[in-house]
């Protein structure tokens, strides 16, 4: 599988690259729009501010090739951290900014006006899986993943939520999936075995996607029931 990691040059992607390597893949780091073509699987990592990242995406002419990859060619796309937020329609970070519009929804600031929570949300959260039919493995459920964020993606469709965490009293999405498009708010590359296991099994799940697409339902969600709930 031709795995490419898109380097937006706004943050460190070395750990992401190393994480894919450790679980047995050989990612190619790309920086330009032209290089997106031919990717079987595209990973969009990112840390930092939404607006700066979108500005970078537009200036480098990456938005259209990304949308073509994910929407027209229906090839797998995985957003990590800010990369997941960029999948949304828009974000309220530093004023309203338009996103890639690949997962219907809005990026909102975490509600810090709750007892015992702090923004940015930094640290380890136990993740609850909310759907049995997603790309995410059983092993995800109850495992701890490292989160660093001040904003979170609120998908318009509940079905797009694949896993959640509790932030104060709020249950917020930490993994999303809509067909071939998936994202995680946490950092699998910084979550040690839990994260590396997850990357390994997502890669295995994406590997099965061409077969799954045949059963792509009207809402665009994949029903993976015949494959069961794949773990690694």
């Amino acid at each position: 599988m031709n795995l490419k990691i898109l380097d937006l040059q706004i943050s460190n992607i070395r750990s992401v690259v190393n994480a894919f390597r450790v679980v047995g893949h050989d990612p190619q780091v790309i920086k330009t729009a032209g290089e997106i073509v031919g990717a079987d699987l595209l990973v969009l990592p990112g840390v930092g501010a939404f607006r700066a990242a979108m500005k970078r995406i537009r200036e480098a002419g990456l938005a259209d090739p990304l949308r073509r990859h994910a929407l027209e060619e229906k090839k797998p796309l995985l957003g990590i951290c800010l990369g997941m937020q960029l999948l949304a329609d828009r974000s309220e970070e530093n004023g309203d900014t338009e996103g890639l519009g690949l997962i219907p929804g809005t990026v909102l600031r975490l509600n810090g006006d709750q007892e015992g929570v702090a923004v940015p949300n930094i640290g380890w959260h136990e993740v609850q899986k909310t759907r049995t039919d997603s790309l995410f493995p059983t092993a995800l459920d109850g495992a701890y993943f490292y989160h660093v964020h001040s904003y979170h993606l609120v998908p318009r469709e509940d079905e797009a939520v694949a896993a959640t965490i509790m932030f104060g009293h709020d249950r917020i999405a930490t993994a999303v999936q809509k067909g071939n498009i998936a994202g995680v708010q946490f950092h699998p590359e910084k979550s040690q075995d839990a994260g590396l296991n997850l990357i390994a099994s997502i890669m295995a799940g994406f590997g099965r996607l061409p077969r799954m697409r045949l059963r792509d339902n009207a809402s665009g969600l994949l029903a993976l029931s015949t494959n069961g709930d794949e773990s690694s």
């Binding site: 943050s11 501010a49 015992g116 940015p120 930094i122 640290g123 380890w124 660093v148 040690q192 590396l196």
Partner: protein, 684 residues
């Protein structure tokens, strides 16, 4: 809810891991890479890497060690460790601008920690937060509590007064966009007195961002207190993680025991191994290159020069700054070996009693519950220290030890007699593991070519076989005599009660070359390396294995031990003087340890065992510096007579030996003038 984090802080000085006390004294511990790899394997919640170097200069370039990296700054190191660092990583030290932050993030860090620069120019906090996001910006606050209990922020590594109140300053940092506060107590640093909970809770109550507590942890039970007692989001510490094996897991366990819900502790990993992995082809190329250089009499890869020379010596003993053991000097030019030895000499009677009690307690924890096995295991070579350890454990304290020896096939006749007499002298059981000689010869040769030490097999053997056997019989306590590096170069303080660790084994005893490095070289198989395969972390954790150094608990004087053992048990000392030192009772177990092995140290670093012995005797006050220098002049450079035996044993010519040895000459010590190797000496 976010889980409270337990965070190891690694302090780096010129690329080396150091232990710190009161922000002033820094004892070099080793290279950071292996420690980071293991913390990643154990799923540490997060890692803080603080570069406390005064200048941008990294010094890890010893050619005889496996640890190498191309860079010469924190950036090179960050890039290298990102290959094994699958955990959140915050880094600080020498960050002055947003550009500095950006560089560190792109080299692999997740957060940047700023301290002095944030005080000098508070706008840096907001600039960083705007450019990189608040989550990337950790402001570190070093607070000093004066005699009246007033707190003040200090900058410049604790050296400069700022007039700032830590609580007010923390508030301002938050307002300027800091994502986290790391609050450190200067006066608790390295003291082991526990966190300054008043300081930590003051800051926690003043801000809404996460607060990491640091400074003063001395016991594992201090960790949960930062969380329950002061409300910190994370409890961090530096020194304590270096002292004992699996310290991180024990810190987690202390939290669990105190009812603090941390992320579950982990010992093993599916993806990150404890053993370094090596590329056999690369290793073979390195061997071929080395032999090529030797054939061409080319000397070391990097040539030294008279001007390049950086060696200096301790002002009290004779220890050089560039040595086989990591060495640090204090601001007066005194080496850490002298500093630690001075403290040791001054143990009071009360202190001696306390230490003995502690030893008995530690030994009791490993005693056989039903009395069917030995109470502990002593790694013995049959030398004076082995006798003393067995004497103390069995005949003074009344425990039943199992003795285990790695037999490296290099014993002197006297050493052999001493070794085989232990079962009679003490009435103890004794397992002597004798590896096959054919393989030993290969390992002798490879040791010389790969790392300039033919005795690598001996060091890895005595760092492995006792543990393999202890794990097999589920004996939790393994006893060694002295912590070589604590003794020689004051790597630890005597209040650290430092224990045996895998890190020490790998980095110092093995120079970074694990047993698997040799597999495939010269036809060596994994099963032929059985005697060198250390038990897994899982086994060590499950059995609760610990390696204790007797010298941490009882007064230790090699000369006196030898005399006492002669008197009590008929321990024999060498009738023949050694070629390379004036002492007669050390290293009888291995004719090459004081000979060829030590001569190689001289070839590499320009000093030898006589410097070690004279330095120790100067510290003990039984030799003057002047007498010491005379001894060093007489012995350090001598080519030993056991070399003939060794060359015959492995089938090598003396000129080949010399040529290989010359490739290891440290360019910071030696330069070549025509055919002559030159160095500066302490008496120049």
């Amino acid at each position: 809810m976010t889980k409270p984090r337990i965070i190891p802080v690694l302090l780096l000085k010129n690329g080396l891991l150091v232990r710190s006390q009161l922000f002033k004294i820094h004892q070099a511990i080793g290279a950071p890479q292996h420690t980071i790899r293991r913390l990643s394997k154990w799923s540490a919640d997060e890692l803080i890497l603080l570069d406390i170097s005064k200048e941008d200069f990294h010094d890890l370039r010893r050619d005889d060690m496996q640890v190498k990296y191309a860079g010469s700054s924190i950036l090179g190191l960050l890039e290298q460790i990102s290959e094994v660092c699958f955990m959140p990583l915050a880094t600080g030290g020498r960050i002055r601008s947003v550009e500095d932050m950006r560089q560190r993030l792109s080299a692999g860090a997740d957060k940047c920690i700023i301290n002095t620069a944030s005080i000098e120019r508070p706008e840096l906090i907001s600039e960083g937060a705007e450019a990189l996001g608040s989550q990337c910006i950790v402001v570190s606050i070093d607070a000093f509590r004066d005699a009246e209990g007033r707190y003040e922020v200090r900058s410049g590594g604790g050296s400069k007064s700022t007039g700032l109140d830590p609580i007010e300053w923390a508030r301002e940092c938050e307002a300027r966009g800091a994502g986290e506060i790391l609050i450190n107590s200067i006066d608790r640093d390295g003291t082991g007195l526990g966190y300054d909970l008043e300081l930590v809770s003051g800051v926690v109550n003043a801000v809404s961002i996460p607060v990491i507590a640091c400074g003063g942890v001395g016991k594992m039970s201090d960790f949960p207190k930062a969380i329950t007692g002061a409300g910190a989001s994370a409890a961090a510490a530096a020194n304590i993680f270096h002292f004992t094996e699996l310290a991180y897991q024990y810190a987690k366990k202390a939290c669990e025991d105190a009812g603090v819900h941390v992320r579950p502790l982990q010992v093993s990993s599916r993806w990150v191994t404890r053993y370094p992995t090596y590329d056999l082809a690369e290793a073979q190329v390195a061997v071929a290159d080395r032999l090529d250089r030797a054939r061409n009499r080319a000397g070391p890869k990097r040539a030294g020069s008279r001007d390049d020379n950086k060696v200096r010596w301790c002002t009290k003993c004779l220890y050089p700054s560039l040595s086989a053991t990591p060495m640090e000097f204090d601001e007066t030019g005194l080496c850490m070996g002298c500093r630690v030895a001075t403290i040791r000499v001054e143990w009071s009677d009360e202190e001696k009693r306390r230490r003995k009690e502690r030893l008995v307690q530690d030994l009791e924890s490993g005693r056989s519950k039903d009395g069917t096995r030995h109470d502990c295991l002593i790694a013995v070579s049959g030398g004076k220290d082995s006798y003393f350890q067995t004497h103390y454990i069995k005949n003074v304290l009344g425990f039943n030890p199992l003795l285990v020896t790695y037999y490296g096939n290099n014993f002197t006749e006297v050493g052999n007699r001493n070794l085989y007499r232990m079962k009679e002298a003490f009435g103890v059981d004794h397992i002597i593991y004798q590896p096959g000689v054919e393989n030993l010869i290969k390992l002798n040769r490879l040791g010389l070519i790969v790392m300039g030490d033919m005795n690598w097999h001996n060091h890895i053997g005595l760092s492995s076989i006792p543990w393999i056997i202890a794990a097999q019989f589920e004996i939790p306590i393994v006893i060694y005599g002295e912590h070589g590096y604590a003794d020689l170069c004051g790597q630890f303080s005597d209040t650290d009660y430092v224990e045996w660790t895998y890190r020490y084994r790998l980095e110092h005893a093995l120079r970074g070359f694990e047993w698997n490095y040799m597999v495939g070289m010269d036809g060596i198989t994994a099963s032929q390396m059985f005697a060198y395969q250390y038990p897994s972390d899982e086994k060590i954790w499950n059995i609760g294995m610990r390696g204790l150094y007797l010298a941490n608990y009882v007064e230790w004087d090699g000369n006196r031990n030898a005399a006492l053992m002669q008197e009590l048990y008929g321990f024999e000392i060498s009738e023949q003087p050694f070629d390379r030192t004036y002492r007669r009772a050390s290293n009888l177990d291995d004719m090459h340890e004081n000979g060829v092995h030590d001569y190689l140290k001289f070839v590499k670093f320009g000093y030898g065992r006589c410097t070690d012995h004279a330095s120790k005797d100067i510290r003990l006050g039984i030799m003057s510096r002047k007498e010491g220098i005379e001894m060093v002049k007489k012995y350090d450079h001598v080519k030993p007579s056991d070399l003939a035996r060794w060359l015959d044993y492995v089938g090598m010519s003396e000129s080949d030996f010399d040529a290989i040895a010359d490739t290891f000459r440290d360019p910071r010590v030696w330069w070549r003038d025509g055919e002559t190797w030159c160095k500066r000496s302490l008496w120049d």
